[in-house]
Amino acid sequence: MNYPNYLFHSNLSSTEFFFESIGSKGIINKVVAFQQTSVATIYNLGLADYDPTTGEIDDTIITDNGDMEKILATIFHIVLYYLSINPNHIVYFSGNSPSRTRLYRIAINHSLNELTVLVDVLGVINSQPEPFTANRAYDGFLIRKK
């Protein structure tokens, strides 16, 4: 991925990561959180707008701040960092809608050669994971450290 990314910091337990989206609508605080799923080694990635004064999040809002590529690059960097400190975890993520999941798929595809140096990328379709292939309508994605 050749897009620049935002600087980010984490909470004390390195399960939540925070950055500022800077775009046409101003500065919007974002949080990326990793939560354990029903499968012990798989952690779900959640992305939301965040109010640092209250801790309140909103993961339904579509901000449209004009910096989607930079946000996606930041998420990829956060995932790579998270896996570097939790090498046995597998990260699952999907969009809030099919169109958003499609956007993630396109972003992964653009960066696949660089991502796969460090991680395995799997697409999940009908609850079955497979090596990521471009143009497959996946329900979500799994990323694990090589």
Binding site: V39, T41, I57, N96
Partner: protein, 48 residues
């Protein structure tokens, strides 16, 4: 993507995440993930 596998990330104290409707954060997303992952075949996820 120029990413070091290990780089320093600043840690800061932060407020617990919460939602307007007092549901656990990302609860719907997590439920959806669990629904998909419940049927997943785990052998393919094992490292070679």
């Amino acid at each position: 993507m120029r990413v070091e596998s290990k780089f320093k990330v600043e840690k800061r104290d932060s407020l617990p995440l919460k939602t307007k409707d007092n549901k656990p954060p990302f609860s719907e997303k997590l439920a959806k993930a669990n629904e998909i992952l419940a049927k997943i075949e785990l052998p393919i996820l094992k490292r070679k």
